[in-house]
Symmetry: C2
Subunit: 315 residues, 2 copies
């Protein structure tokens, strides 16, 4: 089941994209304001963003205190919530963070894992998954999910992670990296994972670990995409006001994976456009707190900003 399939061209997918990650209640403070108990979590941002491109299934866990209005936010985008477990007694995962003026680094003030502590992800219909996104999570659990899907069927299995797992669970992490097609990391994580300062050399090292596709996020400085021996560079969409960077990475990944799923095949051209769509989605997400800006979005806004982005970068 764990055999890694080559990235393949295949018929248009009719199956949804599956994401496993967190659904959270966040409290966020930025230089521009603060918000208590707002909607957050990697799987929330990811699935909301991806839903503009393709049908999405979400696997996550919440507590019995999870606000109905937040569930409704996802339902309104037709996100399949059959895989959203509701713990009968526990509380929803909570994160409290603060950003300084440069907005590049979140300072975590509080983390209450709550129901995440005993989360045992269950994927129903694992033989129906074409595109899979393992959001940042304990790599042992990411592996558990990977084992529940029909891996040879999956056209693209993608992984996100963070410094904590690179440092504390390197063995588990490398095991799961070996079995995915795409990994998304920020520049610091890329260097940490490989011990290599130059990102091109670092990407080559990661490729030797397994994935054919490496996406390096550099925040306000854009993205590097490596696909086998080819690569692509994209600046970030320039914004005059970044209000709240929470969820930018997950929104980026959602736009990227959503676009790839919609195309149904994995080519370099598709990947380049996917990364551009991801950047556009992230540029919206950071303009307001929580998912607020994404909730106002219309399909036309996305296409308009993509066109603007193209004009801004063409010479």
């Amino acid at each position: 089941m764990l055999m890694k399939s080559p990235v393949k061209k295949a018929e248009k997918s009719t199956q949804p994209l599956l994401v496993i990650g967190t659904v959270a209640v966040d409290s966020v403070e930025t230089p521009f304001g603060k918000r208590e108990e707002c909607f957050g979590g990697s799987a929330s941002y990811f699935s909301y963003s991806a839903s503009f491109f393709t049908p999405v299934r979400l696997v996550a866990v919440v507590g019995k205190d999870f606000p109905g209005q937040y569930r409704k936010v996802l339902e309104e985008r037709n996100i399949n919530l059959e895989g959203l477990q509701v713990h009968p007694t526990g509380k929803t995962f909570r994160w409290k963070g603060k950003y300084d003026f440069d907005l590049n680094n979140a300072q975590t003030l509080e983390t209450h894992l709550n129901v995440l502590l005993e989360f045992d992800p269950v994927v129903k219909g694992g033989d129906q998954v074409d595109f899979l996104f393992l959001a940042n999570f304990d790599p042992a659990l990411q592996m558990k999910v990977l084992k529940q899907v029909d891996r040879p069927r999956v056209k693209l299995a993608a992984l996100d992670t963070m410094n904590f797992w690179i440092q504390n669970k390197p063995k588990d992490l490398k095991a799961v990296i070996e079995h995915v097609d795409l990994i998304v990391l920020n520049d610091g994580e890329t260097r940490q994972l490989t011990g290599e300062n130059n990102l091109i050399k670092a990407a080559r090292k990661i490729r030797e670990m397994g994935p054919d596709i490496i996406v390096v996020k550099k925040g306000e400085h854009g993205v590097l995409l490596f696909f086998r021996d080819q690569f692509f560079v994209l600046p970030a969409f320039p914004l005059e006001s970044v209000f709240d960077p929470t969820g930018a990475g997950d929104t980026f990944a959602g736009g990227m994976m959503g676009y790839i799923s919609k195309q149904g095949t994995v080519t370099f051209d598709t990947l380049k456009k996917a990364v551009a769509y991801g950047s556009v989605m992230a540029s919206f997400a950071v303009e307001k707190f929580s998912l607020d800006r994404l909730r106002e979005l219309k399909q036309a806004d996305i296409e308009e900003r993509l066109a603007e982005f193209r004009a801004l970068t063409k010479f």
Copy 2:
């Protein structure tokens, strides 16, 4: 004479680009090696780079110890050295610096201004200047140069500066900024000059100080170009090995100004391509010590890398 002329479209220029800056002897240490007493200086890098696009005149000063072989390097590119003063007794400006592994910041170990201490720039044929680049220097001297050219004739007057002048000579600096069309700064300097963290907002503030064109260099993260109300973003040309970043900024400016001078007119389209050519030239410069890599360059190498750059960034 100091009236600022609007950026104007004009007939193809036949006059050379003039640069005033330093010609230096550098000693550089990087994680990859070290080099004593090699050829350097802002005007050297600038003029060498620009010479691939347009005729260049250089105004600078050296000591009587200035190596003939370094003068020859510039002469081989037909750079007009009539404005290169040779001090009868003094020594050439010397800089000694070191880079750590991230290669982003030079640590200055020694600076011997030597002949720069009494440099009094003289521009002969100041009524024949169409394009002017004031490399990083004491803003009072930059102003002195500006007063020696026929400002209304100059199609584009451009300025570089650094943190030292922003901090220690803000009044002189603002006086000269007011009278140029283009300013080139790195991201840190842009924030320092304006007290504004967001680069788009910062550029707007700088525009209010005078220049219509603001070029913000972000090193390995690329360039932002602001032209009146429009802007353009370009990632850096991605390099696997950066060997020695010395002179990258001046080489960038040389390519940019050289290309603009060659076109003879200042349009947004020309500026975008100019910034791309500048980035390409800088990407070569950092591949070896001193001007070594530039000295190997052929015109075709430049066009080839520009085409590669375009492919790398297009989606």
